[in-house]
Symmetry: C3
Subunit: 336 residues, 3 copies
């Protein structure tokens, strides 16, 4: 694979600084790129790597161009531009449509002939799978599931029954969708199971990482709206509703019946109580713990940051009496 810089510039609508005939043969990070590689800078705060790069060309923003020691492709969104160029340099393995001889398909399924189904996949009854969808080795799909076009389930994905997935949805290994969430009623200290009669609806263009869990709804469906992106090991409770184009990094937990707005960004390990509502466009930093509804768009944080344990111990000891301390200050103010 060999491309001239001007060909790549055309792909991403970039302004060229330097030699438009420079030949690009691969991709590298700023730190480790070698002659012939193209690299990218997404954030000017890493400009130190740019200054010392050995890449033949770099995709960057206008403001970074003065620090670039080599040819450059200038764009507004270098990360996006890089994604489009990288897509050109990778070779996706060829997939041959068809159902592997060891796959087991239930009764009354409608599976498009362009679908690819891997070894040891087990599909229940009354399942519908749309064109060009790919289901990898060892996936298990329950009765009455529906999947749209061009979806990709990586190996070892589990769908319980009645799960509905629209188009171009990608789900990574180990993810479990449609399990019966924590539905229990307490009867004098004993937990009694509450039937979970809803299911899960995943809209188009969602990508879900590895080892996530999305529970089925207690009565109505749990809903993941279009364009949502989830990292790894998130847990979505029953009846949750995740708004379109929201992204969550990983290990996020959302208790049941909570509604997250559209275009939110949720940091790793953040947690949300049940039965709350989060406005569109909220940003939560890592490990934010959200017990209440949030009505205004904004950036929210929790925790006290990291510090040496020795100092931390003393501060935490004071925190235990912070209310008292505040009262003592009040008293001093009254006296003074």
């Amino acid at each position: 694979m060999k491309k001239k810089l001007k060909e790549l510039a055309q792909l991403i609508n970039a302004e060229i600084k330097g030699d438009e005939n420079c030949e690009i043969t691969g991709i590298g990070t700023l730190e480790n790129a070698k002659l012939g590689d193209i690299s990218f800078l997404t954030n000017i705060k890493y400009k130190n790597h740019l200054i010392h790069t050995k890449a033949s060309a770099v995709i960057l923003e206008k403001q970074a161009v003065e620090f670039c020691p080599t040819h450059a492709l200038i764009v507004q969104n270098p990360h996006l531009a890089y994604a489009k160029i990288a897509e050109n340099f990778i070779q996706h393995p060829k997939v041959t449509p068809g159902i592997h001889a060891t796959a087991i398909i239930g009764k009354n399924c409608h599976i498009d002939p362009s679908v690819t189904i891997g070894a040891y996949v087990v599909i229940g009854d009354d399942v519908i799978i749309g064109a060009h969808t790919q289901i990898d080795t060892g996936c298990i799909i329950g009765n009455h599931c529906q999947m749209g076009q061009e979806c990709h389930l990586w190996a070892h994905v589990t769908l319980y029954y009645d799960v509905k997935i629209q188009d171009r949805v990608i789900i990574h290994s180990g993810t479990v969708i449609g399990g019966e969430g924590l539905g229990f009623a307490n009867d004098q200290g004993i937990w009694y199971k509450v039937p979970q009669i809803g299911s899960v609806l995943i809209e188009s263009d969602v990508e879900i990482g590895a080892n996530n869990v999305i529970d089925r709804g207690a009565v109505e469906d749990t809903l993941i709206e279009r364009g949502v992106k989830m990292g790894n090991a998130n847990v979505i409770g029953h009846n949750d509703h995740i708004g379109a184009h929201t992204i969550m990094v990983g290990q996020v937990g959302i208790a049941g019946s909570t509604k997250i707005g559209k275009h939110c960004m949720i940091g790793g390990g953040a947690g949300f109580a049940g039965h709350i509502e989060i406005a569109d466009g909220c940003i939560f930093t890592a490990k934010a713990n959200v017990p209440n509804s949030i009505k205004e768009k904004g950036m929210y944080s929790a925790g006290v940051g990291i510090m040496p344990t020795q100092i931390w111990r003393k501060n935490v000891a004071r925190f235990r009496h912070l209310d008292e301390l505040a009262k003592r200050v009040k008293k001093l103010e009254e006296k003074s």
Copy 2:
């Protein structure tokens, strides 16, 4: 499925307010129920939904009846009553006992003829499985495991060797039981593996969600007592002992050799140090971090709540010097 309100009232021992002959044909949430649906209100703080419901009948507590625009079934525990009624409206798929042709069963197993074993299940040697237990597609059960009656392993559950499970235990997909926990001894900076010779005992009526991990004991067994309910993605360390009827929401982590009391309620993402002991009946709010034993029943919390990042940054900066601040207040008090 069609039932008169008085028939449902009988099932749950409810007092009827309104038309006892009202016909119920389905279940809905207060917000989205339609004519013919029965709904329920578990907490009077959501009474706004009750006021506007279009349900034909609602299960509720006595104190909520004045806000109910339609027929009502009055009970002490609406969530529990709802569970019993919902059970009547769902149709569990018929399960035909038998061992799927692709299942592989080891030597010397005792599997009751009423057991159902799905496709591509692999069971080791010397395994015992009790009556009416159901093992779904792709489960893997190691040598010497024992399972009681009426258990249900959903697809893709993994049991290591020697795991013992009593009756009516439900385990959801992706859960791994009996792995070798973090057993390492440090020898001059290098970690040396410590054999984990205990196993796991799960008592009757336990339900374990998806993608949980329960490690085998280092010497004795890890123990999950009867009636425990676990949500998704919890991690239970080696030698832990979870007391009867305790519930944990999800993403809870319990380090090794810790003993949690009976009837505890553990919020999402809470964490417990190893080698500690927690009293019966403790409640921990979400993300509580518990480094020490807790001897008294009560409700416990940690963290500083959520706030706008801008304000949070300033407070956190002050927290770093909280010990110093407290000393300054002390000095002022001495002066005044």
Copy 3:
């Protein structure tokens, strides 16, 4: 299995206190050991269990010997010594090399004849597997993966394509390695997938617990250096670099492009931001949230500890105004 105390002493180079001919037939914890058992004490703070033990012998440090009611093996590192002795008392199940009839192996693989491959394992094309490696039931290994000698993949492990694993690596069930991490570029509110063209390299002597996720690199490989030990349900982001002999307890999350030093110890549920660097030898207590690089070896903590919710609520309310409180103290100081 029966051994004289002096035989065991020899194995671990211990000084014997008591009867060197005492016969040991099993292993027990201090609390539950019975006649014939050997036990161990790793930390003098648990000496209460030692005083009342019924074990026939105990492995311990010199300073604990005065509290020991029975024969003792005195060593510097009792946990390590116990590990070596326990290894002698367990019987590993015999493994017969060979490929199970139901395993599916791709084209052009190089699999050493001493390798053991279990039922329903699926291996892609161009895979290399070294001598004495064991791959258990239901593992799925993608194209172009390489595995060294004496590795052990427990049941239900998933390797994506191109993953490289060196020697003596142990990976537990449900772990997913090589998934495509959270690589998305934002284009006017819509997330656009960035190809992940790196892979994962796991060096020798690494052990990875159950249900972990290690993402493939965006450009270069994600790297787990030799001797790293990971508990359960950790999530390692793309391009992360975990230094040799670091241990992480479980549920740790590390965002992308972060470099953790060698010989670090990371408590359960700790989280690390992306693009940061942690010095060698750092210790993080449970749930530490690390947003910035840490340049000095040391012990670090976050959070405010656990307390009764009633007291906590008052303190948290004050924390929200901590900056203001500090300013009020300053004012008082100026006045006084």
